[in-house]
Symmetry: C2
Subunit: 239 residues, 2 copies
DNA sequence: CGGAATGTTGACGCTACTCAAGTCCCGTGG
DNA sequence: CCACGGGACTTGAGTAGCGTCAACATTCCG
């Protein structure tokens, strides 16, 4: 199973030799997580790094005032929690599965040993961290600066099979998430989500139907997702 | 001069031995930059890492629509541009001095050589990256989620001598920045900035006077900067 | 079929942006 | 020395976007 994880997504662990790989495999703790069953909470001591084998993880952060903001999502092949392990003593975000997920916990100890023992691996991780965080920062900026419409479009496009992107076919996105959960993922409220869906339906871009959303005008959706100006009061009317 | 930089701010380069330090010093290119004279632009090939000796640097990112957003500021002792050097081929943000600044350019080549040659340094950088980026992400979230009032308070507090923090003395913050520039730094417009200053003046917190702002009620300003709820429609009236 | 959970719609308020019209400051030239 | 002009700053009016609360509609299931 580690073979698959190593191969995926650039293979963070692919620079490990036989010896280190064995050590990793011996001390990792694989586990299946159900939605709602957190891998870890913000504030918990950072005892392990998690390698996601399968599934989708939501990373959230509590803000003063009690509610939480989604920092991003991670999926198969991603490794999460390593910054907390390396930088400090506690996790800075909470990690919660959105769907049944299989992940391996790699104990802090083991992880640090591997680093101390293998300069090549350390360098690989360093490069990985740099590109990971640059991407993450862009995501955060996006999330914070773009409007709900744009975020929604982007979110829906994630659900469109890559093959269909750019075509004018009618795509069908099936979501097994509630409106509440979708709203959380694009950082808005169910009410606003509902209104935005409605607005796009009126424009003939979507045909929402409970947990099945037909995309009638894929190019239009892509246009909204991509280049919609982030903020400009002088825009075509919203609804 | 490198001694000072090494000592500051955790000393990224302090784990370098004599030999490597010499190599660093020999290949670095010190230079004085004036405000407006960018160290590098977003999109430029990442040819060097910059170590800030003195001054203040503004990091900005262009967004679709033409305007730019400030990602944060960096000061003496900080090292910038290393993620672009390690991760990719071009800078992801632009770096522009806010005041006369002295910085050393460390050529990409040299930087990578040092890493390849010194596992300890690589590990130190790794740890540094992790904590840097966690902090940066918090900054970005803060910037995006908090209201102008809060961001302004935070900004002003940066200008209050550390010694006075927490006291009830009247502090004087002198800014050599125009309203326009301040507005940019806290990511708003000059108009809104002006109104916000006025509102705080009416509350008796500040007494703004062109480039000199007296803080009459430091504790109040700190309260605003810290725990003001990020968003809640049911708040005490704004002005 | 009834009731809880989920989703939608309406009404309203708040923050902060844009445009536009002052007002103030300051250096320059008469 | 003072009037004047241009930039910086402020103030006012109007609006977009989105959040909250509350009422209504729909779905899900026992």
């Amino acid at each position: 199973m580690c073979d698959k994880c190593s191969a995926q997504n650039g293979g963070l662990f692919s620079s490990l030799g036989m010896k280190h790989m064995t050590r990793l495999v011996n001390s990792r703790v694989p586990h299946a997580y159900q939605p709602g069953q957190h891998l870890y909470f913000q504030g918990n001591p950072a005892l392990a790094v998690y390698c996601i084998h399968q599934g989708k993880i939501k990373l959230t952060r509590l803000v003063s005032g009690g509610d939480e903001h989604v920092m991003g999502t991670r999926g198969a092949g991603d490794v999460i929690g390593y910054r907390a392990v390396l930088a400090g003593r506690h996790y800075r975000v909470s990690a919660e599965p959105l769907e049944p997920t299989i992940a391996c916990a790699i104990p802090r100890e083991t992880f640090l040993e591997l680093l101390g023992d293998n300069a090549e691996f350390t360098f690989a991780l360093l490069v990985r961290v740099c590109s990971d965080t640059l991407r993450a920062e862009e995501q955060i900026m996006t999330r914070a600066l773009e409007r709900v419409r744009t975020r929604l479009a982007r979110f829906l496009l994630q659900g469109v099979p890559a093959a269909q992107r750019g075509s004018r076919e009618i795509a069908v996105v099936s979501l097994q998430l509630s409106r509440e959960e979708i709203a959380q993922l694009i950082d808005t409220t169910p009410e606003t989500l509902s209104r935005t869906l409605h607005a796009l339906a009126e424009r003939g871009v979507l045909a929402p139907d409970r947990h099945l959303i037909r995309v009638l005008d894929l190019p239009a959706l892509e246009r909204i997702a991509r280049l919609e100006p982030p903020s400009d009061a002088h825009n075509p009317p919203y609804r």
